[in-house]
């Protein structure tokens, strides 16, 4: 629709239509005010194009609503939605002091102190504003549309950023590219109510304001960037990227001799005010002065002071030799004082060491060996080459070209975007989900490439055509001699070549637009709560089992029932099922998760003991054997074993494997065939024929006949199984009477 018609060639509309309009005006011979009008036309066209991009960015993210419905997607967004609901119902103070007893039973969770409130406050503010303007919207709709709305705003920021580092043409191209870039869309479709939705906007805004501050040396811009940073801190843990990239950038500028007072003003103001503001977020607290991840920023801050001081001393001392001696002493002193402070801080425990997540970013293999709970999440895996291609498409090729242009016209701003691009590309390679962070940089740099190329080519085409025109004005006889003068210094077929290249560029951009639309509609719009498949006759089959189960829990279990499930489903159970869970997606307590993992991988009687000690009333497992849904608990089971085994050495991974192979059929390990997870997943499954021509008990997700068909449950009973068996809920029986 609109998605495919416009974005492919974001650049041409201004140039082509402006020249057209010009012709028009020539014809009407408004000769007196002609040029002034063109200027205004250019502005008008730019504003129109930006508005269209703004709308496009919004509507292309509505595929999910059209395909499915206006609903919250996936896992974390359900928590965000639940907290937002709480915030709008009970007000800010209640929200800030909320102790949630519905999760992490029996520990509970202090919500206000363990979340980034930016997203919820943003959605609640939007909701309140709309209410104030007398639009009686439901908070769910606000939450669903928050991410697209912020994606639209991001395109504006990208425009201004592009304008700041290159020119307005590049800005428009950047806005168009980022509006439909799949890497960004994957986290910002309607319903994807997650921190990243607003955080990318905040990230880009902070960077833009900071670059603007560095370019102008204005205190106002630096202050604005500090507030941008504050918003980012309140919205997403990814703010650590900013607080490390910015100092790195400053350091690079210092090393390359680009130190200036502008930089000094920008960084100091941004760092000091930003840090103070960030401390207001309870979850972040004093980390800016206490955590190892934030020390780089502080080091650079002090380094800048030393630089400034030295500058001042040099200004006072006119003697170069004296200054050199002074320089040596000061630098040695400053560095050693810094090192000692850092050493003492770390040793005394005042400065905390780097966290596991940070380590796993620097060393991709770290999580695999040390923190299985991070490694178990699919979006923390190293990125495959294909997903780069999937998310960036032609930007992947344009990115190096853009880097070339940046290096050709090196300035403070382009250095920044180059560093942002390179570091974020590295991180994108380490973790799939960080492609998101790299997307704005890739879009901006690619936009520079596109804009610069197209500009050069069009200039070539236009100048040649003018020359030809003026040459031919003399008539056929004079053409030869006159054109010689101009074309002398250029290669033959240059014009044709330029036209060809232009067409090629437009073709590539068109392919990009088509690819983005396709990816958005096919891959990134699924809410993953509702599964859709194609039926035998090509009709669309909906598997709504998750909601069926959660709603059953909500309606037909006692309000204080505790539900045990693997942590993936924790947020959804509390949000949709409104029941207490043992563990959820917050994963703050590894031991607790390991306990659940241990219960799942133990024999039924041992598991019963654990469940009794956790007051569990219901156990929920996800099972894809009937429908062939592959991301079910049996396929996640090894991670439960690993995480459980990481804390409780009783659980050993080899017990569940046969010759290092994970299987569920007859050849499976005996412990595997009798552990709780296996029993709950396959209870009475042996009697069911899933596929024509296969024996009963044929598991379609793994394509094997199960090994243990005669499963008897002693301590649990089946309470509910959904229509397609995707979710199975078991009730934990009360202890037997002794009499």
């Amino acid at each position: 629709m609109a998605a495919s018609s416009k974005p492919g060639s974001p650049r041409p509309p201004p140039s082509s239509s402006s020249s057209m309009a010009q012709d028009l005006f020539n014809n009407f011979s408004f000769s007196k005010t002609l040029k002034l009008k063109t200027k205004q036309q250019e502005l008008l066209i730019r504003v129109t194009v930006l508005t269209l991009i703004y709308i496009l960015a919004f509507i292309t993210r509505l595929f999910s609503v059209l395909r499915y419905e206006s609903m919250i997607h996936e896992f974390d967004p359900y928590f965000n939605y639940r907290t937002t609901l709480y915030l709008t119902k009970n007000g800010f103070a209640e929200f800030w002091n909320w102790f949630d007893s519905e999760s992490w039973y029996p520990l509970g969770r202090i919500i206000g102190g363990t979340l980034y409130p930016g997203l919820m406050l943003t959605a609640a503010a939007l909701y309140w504003v709309l209410r104030f303007l007398r639009f009686a919207v439901h908070i769910r709709e606000v939450c669903v549309l928050t991410a697209p709305f912020f994606a639209s705003n991001t395109t504006l920021v990208a425009y201004f950023f592009g304008k700041e580092i290159w020119d307005s043409g590049a800005g428009i191209v950047a806005a168009a590219l980022i509006a439909i870039c799949p890497g960004y869309i994957s986290r910002s479709v309607a319903g994807s109510y997650d921190n990243e939705g607003v955080a990318i906007f905040a990230l880009l805004l902070t960077f833009y304001l900071f670059v603007k501050a560095v370019n102008t040396g204005s205190l106002a811009w630096a202050l604005a960037s500090a507030f941008g940073y504050f918003y980012m801190v309140s919205a997403w843990g990814g703010y650590v990227f900013i607080i490390n990239l910015v100092p790195l950038y400053v350091l690079v500028l210092l090393v390359t001799g680009r130190y200036s007072l502008r930089l000094y003003v920008a960084y100091n103001c941004m760092y000091v005010v930003g840090m103070l503001l960030a401390m207001q977020i309870r979850f972040v607290g004093f980390q800016h002065v206490q955590s190892g991840e934030h020390m780089a920023a502080m080091g650079v801050f002090f380094l800048l002071q030393v630089f400034f001081f030295l500058d001042w001393v040099r200004h006072l001392l006119s003697d170069a030799k004296l200054f050199e001696a002074f320089l040596r002493i000061t630098v040695t002193g400053a560095v050693s004082v810094g090192a000692i402070a850092l050493g003492v801080g770390t040793a005394s425990g005042y400065i905390s060491p780097w966290t596991g997540r940070f380590y796993s970013l620097l060393d991709p293999t770290y999580a695999k060996d040390h923190i299985p709970i991070i490694a178990s999440v699919s979006e923390h895996q190293p990125t495959a080459w294909s997903s780069f291609m999937f998310d960036f498409h032609i930007l992947l090729i344009l990115f190096p070209a853009g880097l070339y242009f940046c290096f050709k016209r090196l300035s403070d701003a382009t250095i920044f975007i180059v560093m942002y691009g390179l570091t974020s590309m590295y991180f994108a390679g380490v973790m799939v989900r960080l492609i998101l962070v790299a997307t704005p940089a890739v879009c901006l740099i690619s936009a520079i490439a596109v804009s610069a190329t197209v500009k050069n080519l069009t200039r070539l085409v236009r100048s040649q055509s003018q020359a030809v025109q003026s040459g031919s004005s003399k008539g056929a006889s004079t053409a030869k001699s006159s054109s010689k003068g101009v074309i002398d210094n250029s290669q033959p077929f240059q014009r044709n070549g330029a036209i060809l290249l232009l067409l090629g560029a437009f073709y590539l951009l068109t392919r990009y637009a088509i690819h983005c639309t396709w990816v958005t509609s096919e891959a990134y719009s699924s809410p993953s709560i509702v599964l859709a498949a194609r039926g035998a006759h090509g009709n669309r089959v909906i598997f709504d089992d998750y909601r069926e189960a959660y709603f059953w829990l909500r309606q037909n279990t006692p309000p204080d029932a505790k539900v045990m499930s693997w942590w993936d489903y924790g947020y959804q159970i509390t949000a949709m099922g409104n029941r207490t869970v043992i563990v959820d997606n917050n994963t703050w307590n590894n031991t607790h998760i390991a306990t659940v993992g241990r219960a799942m991988s133990s024999y039924e009687d041992e598991a019963y003991e654990i469940m009794r000690s956790l007051d569990v009333d219901y156990v929920l497992v996800v099972f894809g054997g009937v429908t062939g849904y592959s991301s079910d608990d049996i396929n996640k089971f090894l991670w439960m074993v690993r995480i459980g085994g990481g804390v409780f050495p009783v659980i050993k991974e080899p017990d569940y494997l046969v010759n290092g192979e994970y299987r569920v059929d007859k050849g499976a390990a005996p412990k595997m065939l009798n552990c709780l997870m296996y029993k709950l997943s396959y209870y009475r499954f042996g009697e069911l024929t899933t596929e024509y021509g296969k024996p009963p008990g044929f598991d379609r997700a793994r394509g094997v006949e199960i090994g243990n068909k005669d499963i008897k449950l002693e301590y649990l009973e089946e309470a509910f199984t959904t229509q397609n068996w995707i979710v199975r809920i078991y009730k934990v029986k009360p202890p037997k009477n002794r009499w």
Binding site: K32, K39, E69, Q466, D544, R554, E687, E718
Partner: protein, 626 residues
């Protein structure tokens, strides 16, 4: 069971006392015909009475009595006079008014309703009266808990004798059961069970307040859908739509499910291993219902189908049958005791429901739920009237609790008045129409669009004001002055640019005239063009002078000035050369020289002109970008 026995005992005691008391009135019930319908969860007892006045005084009211255990379940009671004596079935007109009364000298455990007759019943006269009593929750599951595979058995208890303060001459009872399977029933003399109908043979000469308990234990797998609470919101929009939103809070009121729920069993044989469960409900929506949706708190429920069965039009009852049928399926099958909650919404055309009379508008809408055979414990009907409605009143054919609220919806300033009607124990018989009267000025309809229009209008006005107003705080600060100066410089440069571009078009005109010359050889025309261009260019150079002087004086323009001056110089050069070329060519033509000759003469000039033109164009582009 113990409870029944106890109540029975109490009754017998009470009646034992009463039977000795004097006869209540002179009325005699000559013939009583009772038909008890147990086919669904709602018990309907239809009684036709033949009332005779044996006394001397005319009587204007007839008492109906119900034992306590029935009275508390009584949801609906209506009595109609049956005048067509021969045909029997044709009940006439509306029901007679009934109300609760507490006569003297009667046991506390009985509840009396009095039916007032329009005209008194004189001595020796008789009349036929049809009484319909509808009970909810009168069927008790026994056993109370069943497993998934069991069938649902119910107990029903009533009296075989018609409980009445009057003497009954002849009486019969017929019980209609849903299925032929009956677990047990009280056997009296001449009791007959044929198929699914159970008949107690006529009783004669029953004294007042006679109570003969019967208990029937039978199978019933009908859906026991009970809405604990149903909130119906009917929102009127005078733009042509009535939006109905119904929030159901439903549970299965039959025997509770115990033990496991096995999907495997249910899937394999749903009507055997899940006979007592129900998986779908059918709602009969009013005709022309549109935009139907079906969802719950956590999202859309994708299992529902909608039929507009316009084919089923019956000539006699056109309006009733021409309706939309909506089949909804809850997320999961409902077993005994399981609950679910959902919301149905649909829009209806306003003209079908809103009428006008005596300067007042009134909404005529059905009271109950569109779902078939649904028992509603608490029904709350909210009628949301448009903002600005006045003189609101509601008229409902039966007693309800009533109050008013306000609701804030889109673009509301003071809120919309809401009429709330609440009634307990609602059965499908309550699906009668009720009316809400109000006054509303049609002009108020325009308020909300106007609000939007003005909102946007003021937004744009604010934008325009912001763009044009000078919002800087200090008018004398250096940066402000610099900005103002820079704007002036820009304007000047723009003017210069314009002038030069005029010159360039003039040049083009000259070139064009030369081309014409080479084609037509018309020297005079060419000269005329030359003259006009000359005068134009002269004027132009005059215009340029003050602009350049201004630029020279302005410090802001320092860095552009060289470029501008270069442009002007180049342009002048170009102009001169062009003139020279023109003169040469025209001369040549006048001298009638050959084409080659002309070309040779102007060749050197031509080359310079082209390159100069190129440079000027480049400069123009540069200046344009400032």
């Amino acid at each position: 069971m113990l409870r029944f026995a106890l109540t029975l005992l109490l009754f017998t005691l009470a009646f034992g006392v009463l039977s000795s008391s004097p006869v209540f009135s002179d009325l005699i019930l000559a013939k009583v015909d009772r038909r008890i319908d147990l086919t669904s969860q709602i018990v309907r007892i239809t009684t036709s009475l033949k009332v005779e006045n044996a006394g001397s005084n005319p009587i204007s009211e007839i008492l109906l009595s119900f034992p306590e255990n029935q009275a508390k379940h009584l949801a609906y009671l209506t009595a109609t006079l049956n005048e067509g004596k021969g045909k029997g079935k044709a009940s006439s007109g509306a029901g007679l008014p009934t109300e609760v009364v507490i006569p003297k000298d009667v046991p506390d455990s009985l509840t009396f309703y009095s039916v007032s007759l329009h005209k008194g019943l004189g001595k020796g006269e008789s009349l036929l009266l049809d009484v319909l009593a509808v009970f909810t929750h009168a069927l008790e599951p026994f056993p109370e808990k069943i497993s998934q595979a069991d069938i649902q058995l119910l107990l029903f208890q009533d009296t075989a004798h018609f409980l009445s303060p009057y003497k009954v001459m002849v009486q019969s009872v017929a019980v209609k059961l849903p299925e032929a399977r009956v677990e047990s029933y009280t056997k009296l003399e001449g009791t007959k069970l044929s198929g699914s109908e159970l008949k107690y043979s006529p009783f004669h000469n029953i004294p007042p307040f006679s109570y003969l308990p019967i208990i029937i234990h039978f199978e019933n797998n009908q859906p026991f859908a009970v809405a604990e609470e149903l909130v119906r919101e009917i929102e009127i929009s005078h733009w042509g739509n009535v939006q109905v939103t119904e929030h159901y809070n439903l549970f299965h009121g039959g025997a509770k499910n115990k033990g496991e729920f096995s999907r495997l069993d249910y899937q394999a044989r749903p009507y055997v291993r899940g006979a007592s469960a129900f998986r779908r409900l059918v709602a009969r929506l009013p005709p022309r219902a549109h935009s139907v949706y079906y969802r719950d708190e956590i999202g859309n429920i994708s299992t529902s189908s909608l039929w507009g069965d316009s084919k089923k039009v019956d000539v006699l009852q056109l309006s009733y049958f021409c309706s939309t049928e909506l089949e909804i399926e809850p997320r999961y099958p409902l077993f005994g005791g399981w609950r679910t909650a959902f919301t149905i919404g649909y829009g209806l055309p306003l003209r079908d429901f809103l009428f006008e009379s005596d300067g007042k508008r009134f909404l005529n809408f059905s009271f109950g739920s569109p779902i078939n055979e649904l028992v509603i414990d608490t029904l709350i009907v909210k009628v949301v009237l448009p903002e600005g409605s006045k003189d609101i009143s509601a008229s409902v054919p039966f007693p309800v609790k009533q109050w008013q609220e306000t609701k804030f919806s889109h673009l509301d300033l003071v809120g919309r008045p809401v009429v709330v009607l609440e009634k307990n124990n609602v059965v499908p018989e309550h699906n009668e129409h009720f009316q809400v009267y109000y006054k509303f000025n049609s002009l108020s309809m325009l308020r909300e669009p106007l609000m939007l229009i003005f909102g946007f209008f003021f937004l744009f006005v604010a934008c325009i004001v912001y763009m044009h107003a000078d919002l800087s705080i200090s008018k004398s600060s250096a940066s402000y002055l610099a900005k103002v100066q820079w704007e002036e410089v820009q304007a000047t440069v723009q003017q210069i640019h314009n002038i030069i571009s005029h010159c360039l078009t003039a040049h083009d005109k000259l070139e064009a005239s030369l081309r014409d010359l080479s084609r037509t050889g018309d020297v005079q025309a060419c000269k005329a063009t030359r003259k006009s261009v000359d005068s134009l260019l002269k004027g132009v150079s005059k215009d340029l002078k003050p602009l350049v002087t201004f630029l020279q004086s302005s410090p802001q323009a320092a860095h552009i000035l060289p470029k501008v001056e270069e442009l002007i110089a180049k342009e002048r050069d170009l102009q001169e050369r062009l003139m020279a070329k023109h003169t040469t060519v025209v001369d040549c033509y006048e001298k009638k020289l050959g084409g080659r000759e002309i070309e040779n003469r102007i060749a050197s000039n031509q080359q310079k002109i082209t390159s100069l033109r190129q440079e000027v164009d480049d400069l123009m582009e540069f200046i344009d970008e400032i």
